[in-house]
Amino acid sequence: MTRFLMRRLAYTLATLLLVSLVSFIIIQAAPGDFAEIYAAKKADAGAVISAAQIAEVRRELGLDQPWYVQYGTWLANAARGDFGQSWTWRRPVGAVIAERLPLTLAIAFATLVFMYVVSIPIGVYSAVRRYSFGDHAASLIGYLGLAIPNFLLALVLMYLSQRYFGQSVGGLFSPQYSLAPWSWEKLQDLLQHLIVPVIVLGTSGTAFLIRAMRAAVLDELDRMYVLSAKASGLSPMQLLLRYPVRIALVPIASTLGWRLTYVISGAPIVGVVLSLPDMGPLFLNSLLNQDMQLAGALIFLYCALTIIGTFLSDVLLVALDPRIRLE
């Protein structure tokens, strides 16, 4: 088991390293380096900058070094949370992101919880009551969930919640709470505002998971070990939860990693549509403004989240299925 996890950890670290290199390349790909941008800004302000001065700045910033040295420096700094300066925000990239990372994580986490909490019971129900009215209803809603694009769902839900619940959608807090210190009411306000983004981000994943859970449970229901557990005197509920459902969770857990990937990659668009103060709009703006220090850091973070999520799903898989520990 430890060997399996160590190997997975090694893969995870290697992937993170690769992703960091890609992020670095993206940052470098922007036209002009920081020294030139700096010079252009000084020139705008009326100062005259000589080529020698630019070279001096370059040297100071290490921009005259070969790319791998620069990458090493960037990586070492990134590891300490220092992703350089964002020139649109005129602040350290780390600080700009830190303001929005917790909400991004909150949305991703809430969406995952929503998907699993909704889909597992419905999937189990659909399997046990196969071809019942409830099963067909769940399938229908599931297909609709898969078919409707996220942004459309976002707009419709925004309209509905504004029209019928009088809730200010968009953003994560009602105006009166946005600057208030944390309190129970503020948390409730946050949770209410999370409902729409979570539904938007989670619907198609939920629909998919319901199908997967249903199929997995159906696969297990007819197994010999279920009959033999039944012959041991378990009640239908005990039997269902301890065996078919428990074992069906194995394949479901193994897809957690790419469910998370899906949520994370869907998040920016939904964040923009719902104008959430998460990393989504930040990411879009950084690309529009060619703020590559910021964009690169965000790409790295988005990727890192999914990679870490995949690792966590491997850990979960090992916990759920002892056979994997054999490898």
Binding site: A229, A231, R246
Partner: protein
């Protein structure tokens, strides 16, 4: 009748019929199956593939699934603790039948590979039976499980509790399965071809183990097999099943020495004996094949294959059952055969 006085009956099955319901018709899978097994007695249920042995076994515990159901008959269980109930009346779910399964009746299956959940430890799956039925703590349930694992001959039983089924060989898994079926001290053990999936040496060990445990614990065993060699080794009495009916019942001696039903005789002749092989004599197979249960032959279901059928009677009416107590034959020649 001698059987019933020697051994108080643990299970009394009478006229058990199981049917398969389709959209609007229902076909009989078994009809009027009757047998009883006493304490410490092994009844072998023998028959060709598809004759209805497994569905009968499942019916005894109300485990029939899908569209199969008990259409008539009684299954009276009289457990060693004095508890008695007609299982046929209990229905498939509910506290009563759940309290019987695993506690007063245990069952082991053909496939030791798949009879355990792959993701739970052996110990958890045995201890669970104890905690489901008895008001004991986890520790006590574990202790009892280890005790049973020791009894079925698993080395390091305490260590084995925390191991997973894939860490066990087929034979060890079948031993563990036996431990699970016996951990609550059932009055009846149903063993549905428990050694068919094992190789011959392991088979012998498992059979010896079952015999030993039976003597030690005093339960009744319904042993399903189509191997007459195993019957001779294991059983006290034999019930021969053909196309959903029990055609002959008797002690092992009676069945092997004086088989009275033409089908039993054909079965015995189909078994290769050591001498047959030496003399290179042809084994005598039973001509023809098992009838299709969807269109069973009229009259005696064996008549298309029967060498001594009396026409047209055998194809018109169901033959009567002759004999009494533990010795029964369902054949028109039954009376004469039994008198021989």
């Amino acid at each position: 009748m001698s059987m019933s006085t020697d051994h108080p009956h643990v299970i009394d099955v009478s006229n058990l019929s199981i049917s398969l319901k389709n959209d609007n018709n229902s076909i009989a899978i078994t009809r009027d199956v009757s047998f009883s097994i006493g304490r410490g007695e092994v009844l072998a249920l023998v028959g060709e593939s598809g004759s209805g042995k497994s569905v009968t076994a499942l019916a005894l515990m109300q485990l029939l699934g899908g569209n199969l159901s008990i259409s008539s008959g009684q299954i009276v269980l009289t457990a060693i603790d004095g508890y008695s109930a007609d299982i046929a009346k209990l229905g498939r779910n509910g506290r009563q039948i759940e309290a019987i399964r695993g506690a007063r009746m245990g069952m082991i299956f053909q496939e030791p590979m798949s009879s355990f959940s792959p993701v739970h430890t052996i110990g958890a799956q045995i201890a669970e039976v104890v905690t489901v039925h008895e008001d004991v703590g986890r520790k006590e349930a574990r202790r009892r499980s280890a005790e049973l694992l020791a009894k079925v001959g698993i080395p390091d039983p305490v260590g084995a509790l925390d191991r997973y089924p894939y860490e066990f060989s087929g034979g060890m898994r079948q031993r563990a399965m036996i431990a699970r079926a016996l951990v609550c001290g059932p009055s009846l053990l149903i063993a549905d071809e428990p050694t068919t999936a094992l190789d011959v040496t392991i088979q012998g060990q498992i059979l010896d183990l079952l015999s030993k445990l039976k003597d030690e614990l005093g339960m009744a065993i319904l042993f399903i097999t189509h191997d007459l060699g195993i019957v001779a080794q294991m059983a006290d009495r034999v019930a021969i099943m053909y196309a959903g009916s029990i055609v002959e019942t008797g002690s092992v001696r009676e069945i092997f020495r004086r088989p009275s039903h033409p089908y039993t005789r054909a079965l015995l002749e189909a078994v290769p004996r050591l001498g047959d092989i030496d003399e290179r004599r042809r084994i005598n197979p039973i001509a023809g094949s098992m009838p299709n249960l969807f269109e069973p032959p009229s009259g005696c279901r064996f008549h298309p294959r029967c060498p001594v059928a009396v026409h047209p009677r055998c194809s018109l009416e169901r033959p009567p059952t002759f004999g009494s107590g533990g010795r029964l034959v369902e054949c028109i020649h039954g009376e004469a055969e039994l008198a021989r």
